[in-house]
Structure formats: structure tokens, C-alpha cells
Symmetry: C2
Subunit: 118 residues, 2 copies
């Protein structure tokens, strides 16, 4: 029960949303995403990202093509499938709802909801 662990827990699910969003903006490969996620302080490591991409691909939300690189092994460049685009829309709403719900609770400063019945 420490803060770091909670950070991890809060990130669950949101990561999926962020990654789909990044891919929705144009072809990228894993290191591109890692770079952007790190820049946004959405700390992620290889061991998290790659399995997630595989999972999303197996679910039919992503597809990729191999592209030769002039500075290392070939890379998988990902794009969203139509299914992926639809899913991303759904995720977007889910995320907005969650933010709203949380705001509703954390901004609510009334002390009691109703008379206590001791």
C-alpha cells in the first residue's frame, strides 16, 4: 500500500487509451510511442508496451507492416483498423466519464448526504 503502487493501478486501462490515441495520429513504431509516453510522464517500460501492442493487435484493433530501417533491425509500424478506431471512440467516452465521476466526488464538499440515523 504505497503511492508508487497506486500510480501503477491508476494507469491501468488508461495506457491502452493513450496508445491507441497515439497510433490514431499516424504510423508509429514502439520506440516512437515510448518516447512520447515518457515525455508526457506517463512512465512506461518496454516490458509493458510490447505485450500491450501484441494484445491490441490480436484483438484486431491494430495492424502493422514491417519497414526496413537504416539504423538497426526492421520495425513494426502500427496503424489502427476500423475496429480500432471505433474502440478508441468508446475508450474516449469511458475516460471522460471517469474524470467527471471523480471530479464529482472530489469536489463535493458537503459534509453529509442525508440525516444520519443513529
Amino acid at each position: 500500500m504505497n503511492l508508487e503502487n497506486t500510480q501503477v493501478q491508476m494507469r491501468k486501462g488508461v495506457l491502452e487509451y493513450c496508445i491507441l490515441h497515439i497510433i490514431s495520429r499516424g504510423e508509429v513504431y514502439a520506440s516512437d510511442m515510448l518516447e512520447e509516453l515518457t515525455a508526457a510522464k506517463m512512465i512506461v517500460v518496454e516490458g509493458t508496451l510490447y505485450p500491450l501492442l501484441t494484445r491490441l493487435k490480436n484483438a484486431g484493433l491494430l495492424e502493422y507492416k514491417w519497414v526496413e530501417s537504416k539504423s538497426g533491425p526492421p520495425r513494426k509500424y502500427y496503424t489502427l483498423t476500423n475496429l480500432g478506431k471505433n474502440f478508441l471512440e468508446g475508450l474516449s467516452n469511458t475516460w471522460k466519464d471517469l474524470v467527471l465521476s471523480t471530479q464529482k466526488i472530489t469536489n463535493n464538499s458537503t459534509v453529509a448526504l442525508h440525516e444520519k440515523e443513529y
Copy 2:
């Protein structure tokens, strides 16, 4: 890989934050919280809430006292410990950071971060 499941995943960790926040505003017992969480569309069921409260209590963030009710069995009324108050502050920052990070990514509409090096 369906939306409902992702909702569950996104809720992880946030729930803890919301519950501590509700308790921070004054003594409440489980059904009070359930009511408020449901009102805020942060869907939660008994089987989720009770174990969570036990976990938070074992971690020393909460304490409770039994209070007799005139309409049923006695209730556990929870309050935050000092440790719990500090933890809540940390959670608050974690949540804000996560929202900012997500916004940073999902509002970023530039197509490419840098020249592609095919």
C-alpha cells in the same frame, strides 16, 4: 477486449482515491459510500467496496467505530487516520498528474514528433 472490461481497468486505483476522499469529509459507513459512488456513476458493488475498506484499514489509513442503528445491525463508521490524510494528499497529486499526462497525449494533434527515418 471489450469496453466494459476497460472501464473496470481504468477504475483501478481511482476508486481508492474516491473512497478516501469521501471519508475525509466526515464519518460514513459503507452504504453511504455506495450511495454516493453510484450517484456519481462510479459504479461499484459491495464485493468491491468492503474488501477495499478492509485493506485500507489494515494499512492504517482508516479506523472505524461501531455504531448502533435503529433499523438493522450495527454499522462501521469510518474516519481517516493521520496516515490516511497524508496518503490522500499523495493520491490527489497522482490523480492530477495522470489526468494531465493523458490530456497531453490525447490533445496532441501533431502528426509526427520528428522526421521519420525509413
